[in-house]
């Protein structure tokens, strides 16, 4: 395999009851990257993930995983990835250890290998103490961890995670992020969906923003932030009579209409030069300022600007 493409999705569409839920989506996921699918509720994230993982048949479009066409070589394709769905799918009635043993066997490990791997994973995911407990007694976080552990039995080359941290407390969420980073360090490719901007920002190398089934934008978090989000500068004017002249100076220098709330002026800007320019003019006119702050664009801006969501 000489190319570095892990997943290739071409013109993917899905129609449920005459309603287009995924609409002509194309993208590629590179080997070894964390690819995030970001979108509001009902955007179609799970549907896309289920089509790639062979759980749902696309209405139209082609998908290849490591050059295996998922239609023709679905068994081969399936042997390269592990999936953790949106809702933890573990066997409720049996113990954590039995879950891991059974899935190890189903993944083609021998009895002995299965036992070794189960032990390793229980340790890795801090589930040793609860190994013999029924899953019914597990907390949501423990279920998620077991769910992920099951997906990692064969150390798959690609791991699909559908909203891996929804419903987790902040500490468990951070642990989950560390686990995901660790996977990538060991060479895995990670495909995840999330509604959390912070999660996409810290974890993903590239993000695809989708809404109403359409791919809206794709790129690195930084690129998206700078393309769509805007940086803002705000400062406080000491003397009240200076407020209006200052606003005028900033409007010209930063080329954007300022917002004035009490003594604070907030203006969007594109380049640092604009700020230097504006500040030096304020200084020339002897206008005193304080509390200068610069706000970098955030993915929140991107999300809000790009998506409308269901409601």
């Amino acid at each position: 395999m000489q190319n570095n493409i892990a997943i290739n999705v071409e013109h993917l569409s899905k129609t449920f009851n005459n309603q287009k839920v995924v609409d002509d989506v194309s993208f590629t996921v590179k080997k070894g990257e964390v690819f995030g699918l970001l979108g509001p509720n009902g955007a179609g994230k799970t549907t896309i993930l289920r089509m790639i993982t062979t759980l749902l048949k696309p209405t139209t479009g082609n998908i290849t995983i490591f050059d295996h066409d998922i239609k023709k070589d679905s068994k081969l394709a399936r042997s390269t990835f592990g999936v953790t769905g949106q809702y933890a799918a573990v066997d409720e009635d049996i113990t954590a250890k039995e879950n891991l043993l059974i899935f190890s066997r189903l993944n083609g490990l021998s009895k002995k290998e299965a036992q070794i791997r189960t032990k390793e994973l229980l340790k890795e995911f801090s589930l040793e103490k609860s190994a013999d407990k029924s899953i019914k007694e597990f907390s949501g976080g423990m279920r998620r961890r077991l769910d992920l552990a099951i997906s990692l039995i064969t150390r798959p080359e690609i791991i699909f995670l559908d909203e891996p941290t929804t419903g987790l407390d902040p500490r468990t969420r951070t642990q989950m992020w560390d686990t995901i980073r660790n996977l990538v360090k060991h060479g895995s490719t990670v495909f995840l969906t999330t509604q959390y901007l912070e999660e996409a920002d810290t974890l993903a190398d590239r993000i695809a923003v989708i809404d109403h089934g359409k791919l809206i934008r794709i790129g690195t978090p930084d690129k998206l932030k700078h393309e769509i989000g805007e940086s803002k500068m705000s400062l406080k004017i000491i003397k009240n009579i200076d407020i209006l002249p200052a606003a005028k100076i900033l409007q010209n220098a930063l080329n954007s209409k300022p917002q004035i709330i009490n003594n604070t002026i907030t203006t969007r800007f594109k380049t640092t030069e604009q700020i230097i320019d504006g500040l030096s003019q304020l200084s020339t006119d002897k206008i005193n300022v304080s509390n200068l702050t610069i706000q970098e664009p955030s993915l929140d801006d991107v999300f809000m600007a790009l998506t409308i969501g269901k409601n």
Binding site: T53, D91, I94, L106, N107, G108, L109
Partner: protein, 258 residues
Amino acid sequence: MEIKKNRISTIQNINTMAYRNLLKTLHNPDHLMDVLIQPVMFMILFGYLFGGAIAGGVHAYLPIIVPGILIQTILSAASGSGTQIKEDMETGIFDRFKTLPIAHIAPLAGQLLADILRLVLAIIASLTTGYLMGWRPNVAFGWIVVIILITVFTGWAISWIYAFIGLMAKSATMVESISLMTMLLLSFLSNAFIPINTLPKFLRIIANLNPMTHVITAIRQILATGTFSNTAWIVLISDLAIVLIFASLTVWAYNRQN
């Protein structure tokens, strides 16, 4: 450590799946209560309630009711397969199985293999209760084994029908009501508890069309004469046909993607 992906055969995967289902039963033995308690309860209740009226006494009624209860019990044990499968689908565990590099029939076949245990337990409970109430079939013990095997196979064939219903139904609750309804209709509109010729003509036609009537007749014939009747052959061939048809339908329904 590099994980080798051995080519594990479908048979082995089915065994693992069956093991999973047995583990589930071991952790929740109460799931077996229905197949154990129901035959005991019905046998005692019907035996003492209707025995006098229908056969002139409990003892004379036993050769009629034992095969009847036997079939009623396997119907209800078999319908458990459908409920189980639907429940597994609802928890999402089947989705996980589908993403594994295993044959798609493995999770279903594993379930059905493990369900044989339910059938065997149901049959033992029925026959033991009959024995304790005084049922003494007049044939060699080998023939008892034969009817146990026929009953297991019939129950297993019916399990595939319920598995199919389980996959097609909207919810586990719906599967449960369908199971209860078909169990009641198939067992009461048959010769399980009463001689068919006592029925009004309309019901007699229905009871004769009911396949359970013929299974029960086959078992009664074997137990009465100690020979393998034609009806018994027809039952076996029909069971085989049901397995072939419904195993394919079930796999089709399982693979059916939206």
